[in-house]
């Protein structure tokens, strides 16, 4: 296996590992047959404590979801309607966060923006997660030619800088929310694939997999019904990092004006359109959308920290 693949795997695993108190021991990926843990059901403790990270992260995310949903029904002003106020009006009682260059209310646009940034993110991540994990499980379990072919293709795509690839694809497939979602899903697949593949490969020879095979299960059943559920932990923990990345790429694409209409209240787009204002002192147009991104992406990271704790198999009593 090339070092590039090893290095990325190490990185992802290092990122998802959170220190938990427990007996010392360097955790390796491969456990010899004699030491494989017979039952590795992820623990669903009824009273498993949720760490503060997770609680705060979930709470913030919930707020964002609420705001996004509410924005369909109500916003202080019409987010798509310019001229409700003067252009570049500073924050005031009337317009809590000011207005942008065309006079549209910032609060309303920020609320509506949640639909785009959050929505695109969640959908794209779900798709990446599913497709990547399935492909990775196949590659990891069956091995052989299937594995090599899939891996090489994935490596070729992974050698692309992520943002650049997204930019290229968006230009190629054209603008529009569904296209952006598709592009972003595509960008995320390689990482899930690699992760799932690594996890499945390490468990393929463990005792319980042997047992499942001996009982007569078909390979795909062993892979998907037995091995995959136990591999979910690090994959789920990675989801949060991926979500954060997708959110930032969405904002970047919006900033560049790629893929969504120029008046779309997507936060990255709003930052870009407020650039002139920055130079002349109207800071609020670019500033607040950034905070919105911070909150959302931050909550993903916080949730991720919490998730990796929960699903870490080293969490012994």
């Amino acid at each position: 296996m090339s070092k590039l693949t090893d290095a990325r795997d190490v990185l992802v695993l290092a990122l998802r590992r959170r220190a938990t108190p427990g007996p010392g021991g360097v955790v390796g990926l491969k456990a010899p047959l004699s030491q494989s843990i017979p039952s590795e059901k992820p623990r669903r403790r009824a009273r498993a404590p949720l760490s503060w990270s997770m609680r705060i992260g979930a709470a913030i995310l919930l707020v964002y979801v609420t705001v996004a949903l509410v924005s369909f029904v109500w916003t202080p002003y019409d987010p798509f309607q310019p001229g409700v106020g003067d252009g570049y009006a500073p924050p005031s009682m009337e317009f809590l966060l000011g207005t942008d260059r065309l006079g549209a209310d910032m609060v309303s646009r920020l609320m509506a923006g949640a639909r785009y940034d959050l929505g695109i993110c969640l959908v794209a991540v779900s798709i990446s997660l599913t497709v990547g994990t399935v492909l990775g499980t196949i590659a990891g379990y069956y091995g052989g030619y299937v594995d090599i072919v899939i891996l090489r293709i994935v490596e070729a795509f992974q050698a692309f800088p992520g943002l650049l690839f997204a930019m290229l694809m968006v230009k190629a497939v054209g603008p529009g929310v569904p296209n952006i979602i598709m592009v972003l899903s595509f960008v995320g697949i390689p990482d899930y694939l690699r992760l799932a593949r690594a996890e499945i490969q390490s468990r393929r020879d463990w005792q319980y997999a042997e047992a499942a095979r001996m009982v007569g299960n078909r390979p795909w059943r062993v892979a998907f019904r037995h091995l995959l559920p136990n591999s979910i932990g690090p994959i789920l923990a990675f989801t949060s990092i991926n979500a954060a990345f997708v959110a930032l790429v969405t904002a970047s694409l919006g900033f560049l004006g790629l893929g969504l209409g120029p008046n779309t209240p997507e936060w990255g787009n709003m930052i870009a359109r407020g650039q002139d204002g920055v130079m002349t002192g109207e800071w609020w147009v670019s500033f607040f959308p950034g905070l919105a991104i911070l909150g959302m992406t931050g909550s993903f990271y916080l949730l991720g920290d919490g998730l990796s704790d929960l699903t870490d198999p080293r969490r012994r009593r």
Binding site: K3, G25, S252
Partner: protein, 345 residues
């Protein structure tokens, strides 16, 4: 710690093998770019043709741009050119892509190194402090800061810094590029302004270059610092739970020795990988950062190439970026071999 003589042979083999591995990857990447680029909506010919042109003129321009042949033939021709190390000609600059890339490389590298150095020099100690003070206030503070660094888009951080230090405080110059407007470049030696100005003995200009570097470098540095600190922290905490640290404690070593002599050394491995990943990303051209700070580097070049459907330039850039990744990870591997003896066998 240094490699023994008998290990130099496999070392050169490793380098060769890695460089050989570049070729199929580069080929794959180029092919993907090639076909994706040409699937752009809108024939780029239109961008380079005056609106009143006749069909004949249009056809002539299209042929000049190299777009007259069928797609497969264009591809073969491109590969042929590549084998002769010809990256083609840029539609926008009219120069060879190779020379374009070469000219813009120092700007990106200079900014990249400054940002990377900042990020590592501050990130690792912060990570160590957070690890040593786990679950106490320095840890929470650092984790909060790094969360911000990772959750915020780089371009926003840049804009806020500009807002604060340039627009409001007027302490630092505006985002106009590597030197203030109207100031000519020093005589070209390396392309790195910080070096070339000193070589020319032009200290005031050196200072100007430094001042222009501060804000973009700081932006890059802050967003680099965040993941470095985080991985250092988690890596050290994990090392502290290992058996060998338990042995060191059992033998009576002081906390200081255990943390800084043993733990840190072991913890650096994942950090090195991370820094490699970040370096590859940065040195590949921070597209948005260069856009905000009007930095004439490769990121800006790539952005223009995408916007103007400049196929050759785009492909050239992509080749550069993927080559760079491979080189960076090769360096990471070499560093690994230096610091992790398990990798040497």
């Amino acid at each position: 710690m240094l490699l023994r003589r008998k290990q130099y042979m496999p070392l050169t083999l490793l380098i060769l093998r890695r460089l050989l591995w570049v070729l199929p990857v580069a080929l794959g990447v180029v092919t993907i770019t090639f076909f994706m680029a040409r699937v752009f909506t809108g024939d780029p010919t239109e961008l380079y043709t005056p609106p009143e042109a006749t069909d004949a003129l249009r056809a002539q321009i299209r042929a000049q741009l190299g777009l007259a042949d069928s797609l497969p033939r264009q591809y073969i021709r491109y590969l042929h050119d590549l084998s002769q190390l010809n990256l083609g000609t840029s539609f926008t600059t009219g120069q060879s892509v190779g020379s374009d890339l070469w000219l813009r490389l120092p700007a990106t590298l200079e900014l990249g190194f400054v940002g990377l150095t900042f990020g590592v020099v501050f990130g690792i100690p912060l990570g160590v402090i957070a690890a040593v003070n786990r679950e106490r206030w320095p840890d929470f503070l650092i984790r909060g800061l790094t969360l911000g660094g990772m959750a915020l888009p780089q371009f926003w951080i840049g804009l806020v810094l500009i807002m604060f230090f340039f627009v409001t405080l007027r302490w630092l110059p505006g985002p106009v590029g590597r030197l203030p407007v109207g100031v000519p470049l020093p005589p070209l030696v390396t392309g790195f302004l910080l070096i070339d100005t000193l070589v020319a003995g032009d200290f005031p200009k050196w200072l100007l270059a430094v001042r222009q570097l501060i804000l973009p470098g700081l932006t890059l540095g802050l967003s680099t610092m965040a993941p470095v600190a985080r991985v250092t922290r988690s890596s050290m905490v994990e090392a502290m739970q290992s058996d060998y640290i338990r042995t060191a404690v059992a033998m009576g070593h002081s906390k200081r020795v255990v943390w800084f002599r043993y733990s840190l050394r072991n913890a650096l491995l994942p950090v090195v990988t991370l820094i490699g990943g970040v370096a590859g990303h940065i040195l590949g051209g921070a597209v948005l950062l260069e856009a905000i700070f009007a930095w004439p580097g490769l990121g800006q070049y790539a952005l223009q190439a995408i916007e103007r459907s400049d196929f050759a330039a785009l492909q050239g850039f992509v080749i550069y970026a993927s080559l760079l990744y491979v080189i960076v990870f090769l360096i990471v591997d070499l560093i690994y071999m230096l610091i992790d003896p398990r990798m040497r066998s």
